[in-house]
Structure formats: C-alpha cells, structure tokens
C-alpha cells in the first residue's frame, strides 16, 4: 500500500479546501440559516409537531443531509474533474498508485470536508432551534457513511463529465430534487398513500430517515432498511469506480 501517495493526494485536496475555506463554509452556513429563518421560524411556527418533534428541530437532520449530499458531490466531482481538465492528472496516472489509493485520497478528502460542513451546520442550527442527538455514534456513522458514499458518487460524475455543464447537471437535475422530495422538510407519512409509495424509490428518503432516527429516535422507515440502502448505494458506487479504473474509462486513451 502506497500510504505516502494517499497522504499526498489527501493533503493536496485539503490544502485546496483550506484555500477556499471562507466560501466553502460561508455559503452553506448562510443558506442553512436562511432555511431556519424561513422554515423553522416563519413557517414552522404554524406547523404541528411531527412525531412529537417541533418542526424547527425536525428539519435539522434533513438540512444537514441536504448540505452533506450536495457538498460531497460537488467537492469530489470537482476534485477529480479539475486535474483532468487542466491535464495535471497525468502525474497521478503515471504514479505507482492503485485505484484504491487514488480514490482513498480524493474521496477521503471530499468526505472529510463535507462531514466537517455537516457538523458546522449542526452547530449553526443550535443557534436557532433546540437539537437533541439521541444516538450520537449512529449520527456520526450515518454522516461519515453518507459523506463517503456521495463523495464516491461525485468522483464518478467528475470522471464521467467532459465539460462543466455535465459536471453541474447531475447535482442540479437529480440530487437537489431528490433531496427536497426525500423528506428533508416533512415526514413521508404526511403524503397521500400513492405518493408515499413513489417516494420509497427515492434513495435519499432512507438516508434522511435513518439520520433523523439517530437524532430523535423516530423514523419513517425501518433503520435497518435505511442502513442497508445506504450500504447498497455505496457498493454500487464502488463497483462503478472499480470498472472505471479497470478499463481506464475517460482517463486513458
């Protein structure tokens, strides 16, 4: 195992994060604050508690997930797309590193950043609403697992994309709608039966539900199913990455 290489890539990516720290922290924190003002205070005041949880608190796990997903995907996709775009990827491809080591470096750094942001948002939310975390270990586990899974997904997008439009298309066209419709701001039990069934095809539902369970001990779907779905998606991404490096897809001619 080439640990020096993993460390080099990881530190390189973290240095990039550090250079853009302000913008990468400020904008998610600001938008979260806005969500709390609009949904938590203005609208939430007129909402009933869901499963015994005040609406303002109820949306905290969903908001963290929203940030975690979008940030994981955008960090990881940009992290690998950019060296492909400017051509510096040649060095990584010519180095004595395995696919696993490359992925560990890039995805590890992207996941680290998005998990850190998730925690910052959790901290921010305590300024607006009361938050309790019933199962902190599970909470962190879900955070890390989701961060890694969606950073992997972002990594795949960053390799697949051959222009900036495509790089932004998936997060914009797929992930944002799925997150909004994934029960971030409501319990799927509030939906009519038909739409509730449709929603169960949305993988984000399981992430948000499991994550919310770690906070409040209540969930829309069984926690084991949530965990299983998350792991399943992780496995899917791993297979895709394995195939990419085996064939050199979009990396080698």
């Amino acid at each position: 195992m080439n640990f020096h290489a993993i460390k080099a890539i990881y530190m390189f990516e973290m240095a990039r994060t550090a250079r853009t720290l302000l913008q990468s922290v400020v904008s998610p924190v600001l938008s979260t604050a806005l969500y709390f003002i609009v949904f938590g205070s203005a609208i939430g005041g007129h909402m009933n508690a869901i499963d015994g949880v005040a609406y303002g608190s109820f949306i905290v796990p969903g908001l963290i997930m929203l940030t975690l997903l979008t940030q994981s995907i955008s960090n990881a996709s940009f992290g690998i797309y950019f060296p492909r775009f400017v051509g510096t990827i040649y060095e990584v491809l010519s180095a004595p590193v395995s696919a696993f080591e490359i992925v560990a470096g890039y995805v590890g750094a992207a996941a680290t950043k998005s998990v850190m942001l998730g925690l910052i948002i959790l901290g921010t939310s305590t300024f607006f609403v009361e938050v309790q975390v019933l199962h902190p270990v599970w909470m962190v586990s879900f955070l890390v697992l989701t961060g890694i899974t969606f950073s992997l997904f972002g990594f795949i997008i960053g390799i697949w994309a051959d222009n900036f439009e495509k790089l932004q298309m998936i997060p914009l066209l797929v992930v944002t709608p799925l997150t909004f419709l994934g029960g971030s701001f409501y319990s799927i039990d509030m939906l009519p039966p038909f739409w509730r069934s449709v929603t169960l095809f949305n993988p984000v539902v399981y992430l948000v539900s499991g994550f919310r369970w770690s906070f409040f001990g209540v969930s829309d779907v069984n926690i084991a199913i949530s965990l299983g779905m998350t792991l399943g998606f992780l496995a899917l991404c791993l297979v895709a990455v394995w195939w990419i490096f085996r064939t050199g897809y979009r990396l080698k001619s």
Binding site: R19, S94, P96, V97, S253
Partner: protein
C-alpha cells in the same frame, strides 16, 4: 540483468482506427541518453505515454528493469520520471508544495534535502514559495522537471524539454541531463532541435508514421550517413572538369568557378591529396578551400526524404 527498458512489438491503434505505433521494439542500456527523433505526429509522445501508463497499448509489452508496466506497474513506475510535452501545472500551489506532492505520490518518504537539491539544480530555489501561476513558461517547465526528479527516478522521459526554452536555460538543462546520466539515470528525450540530439545523445532512434526506422549510436550514424564536402574555389573559370583531375564525387559548380568534392560516400576512396596533386599538375590554381561536415539535421532531412 534485464535491460533498463525493453519495448517489444508495441502497437497502438487509437479509437477511430488511427495507428500511432506499429510494432515498435527497442532496448535501452542503463545510463545512456537516447534521443527519439521524428516529425510531428510520428508517435513519440504515444510511445512515452504508453511506457508511463497514460495510454493503453493495443499490442506488445514494455518492461522497466524487468517489471512489466501493466502486471508489475508499481515497481515499474517507481523507476520512471516523466516531463510531459505540454505544460500542465497546478496554478495555486507553491513550487515547493507541488514538487513535494510528486515525491509523496511516487511513494517516497519526505526528504527536504533532496527537494532542495533538485530545486537548486534547476535554479528554482528562490522561487520555492511562489505560486506556480506567477512563474514564466520556462520556469514552469523547470518545475515539471523538478517534479519528475523529486522521487529519484532511474529512467527519465523528457518529451521536448527545451521547446520554448531560452539558450542559457537550454545549456543548463543539457548540463543537468549529463549529470543525471553520470549518476546512472537513463534518459529518453525527444526534440525537434537536432543539434540538441547531436550534442547530447549517445544513441538515436528515428520514428516515422509509428515505425521505428532506425536506431543507432550517434557516432556510427554520423559516420555512416555523414558526408564531408570540400569546396575548392578556383582562380579561373572552367567549362568542364579536365580528365586528369576527374574522380568520383567531384563535380563542377554551375558557374564553373568551384570544384565540389563529396567525401564519405564510398568506402575505398582515393586520398584527397591525389586531387590536389592532379590540380597542380594540370596547372589549375585555386584561391580558397572550405570543408563542411553534414550535421545530424542534414542526415535527418535526407532520411526523411529517402523514405517519403
């Protein structure tokens, strides 16, 4: 001991069906400077890219010090340093960080003393804390060389290292390349400056349309294809070469004021002194003698024309 680099029957057909390399075989000796020459699009970069793992070959094998570049990619790649043809650098990193990054990437533990030596060798030491985007093109190229040397490679590929580099820096690079060769590093360089190959290379390979046409010691090549031309300026005008003076390789210039003698075309040549004796006997006076050795450039142009 296996050769430091062995390329066997290497072929590359790019997607779309273009054959960039066709059955190329080549062996390099440790510690030699090998110049790969060929016109644009000949396949030089393709060959280098395959050895370095950037392009998948469609046929054939490559071994670096006995390690197959695909099956045994780790030990093979650890030995290789690559300076790509195009300037591909990060913008926001500092020189020091980007060179240290390369060392780590190639699996070597941190060694500040080595990085310092490399940067000093390349006159980049005073720029070590500068962001790369603030450097000039020539400096960026040196940064790429520093990155390639950061992990102490045993085989160094320089794909047109001196393109767009000023005369002084070019001399510095030549000096560095020789120094590396003396340390036992094998160097493969491509260049379109033939005087560079002439000056530097121990052996020369000529590639054209994906085929390796010729590989030879530079000196042997110069001897084999090189010619010497002697121009004798006459004091008088001749209309034809007198029979007493005539010999193979001797022609009269168009204006009849000079005799042109080409040497090195036939193995058993009469001594040049014969010609001067004959001129004296014939009473032909001459005012000046000029000799000209054909350069690698002449040889190259000639080769390309022959095989066009």
């Amino acid at each position: 001991m296996p050769p430091i680099l062995r390329v066997s029957h290497l072929s590359k057909v790019y997607k779309g069906g273009f054959t960039a390399l066709n059955d190329v075989s080549l062996e390099l000796k440790q510690g030699e400077i090998f110049a790969l020459l060929g016109p644009n699009g000949a396949g030089k970069t393709t060959l280098i890219s395959i050895v370095c793992g950037l392009v998948n070959p469609t046929g054939g094998t490559v071994e670096v010090s006995g390690h197959d570049i695909i099956r045994d990619y780790r030990p093979a790649r650890e030995l290789i340093g690559l300076v790509p043809q195009e300037l591909k650098t990060d913008s926001f990193e500092t020189v020091w960080n980007t060179v240290s990054f390369s060392r780590g990437l190639f699996g070597k533990p941190r060694n500040d003393a080595h990085i310092e030596r490399v940067l000093k060798d390349l006159s980049l030491w005073d720029k070590k804390d500068n962001m790369i985007m603030t450097l000039s093109g020539g400096m960026k190229r040196r940064v790429l060389i520093a990155k390639a040397l950061s992990h102490e490679p045993r085989v160094l590929f320089l794909d047109e290292p001196t393109a767009g580099v000023d005369v002084e820096l070019r001399r510095d690079m030549w000096r560095l390349v020789r120094q590396l060769r003396d340390e036992g590093v094998t160097i493969i360089l491509t260049t379109h400056y033939l005087e560079e190959a002439e000056e530097m290379a121990d052996r020369i390979g000529v590639i054209r349309k994906g085929e390796l046409m010729l590989v030879d010691e530079k000196d042997a090549l110069m001897r084999r294809f090189g010619q010497k031309r002697v121009t004798i300026q006459l004091s008088q005008q001749l209309t034809a070469i007198p029979a007493a003076v005539a010999r193979t390789g001797l022609t009269l210039s168009q204006d009849g004021r000079a005799l042109l003698l080409t040497l090195g075309t036939t193995p058993a040549e009469a001594p040049v002194s014969d010609l001067f004796r004959a001129l004296a006997l014939a009473g032909i006076a001459y005012s000046d003698i000029e000799t000209q050795q054909s350069s690698l450039e002449d040889i190259f142009v000639e080769l390309m024309r022959e095989h066009a």
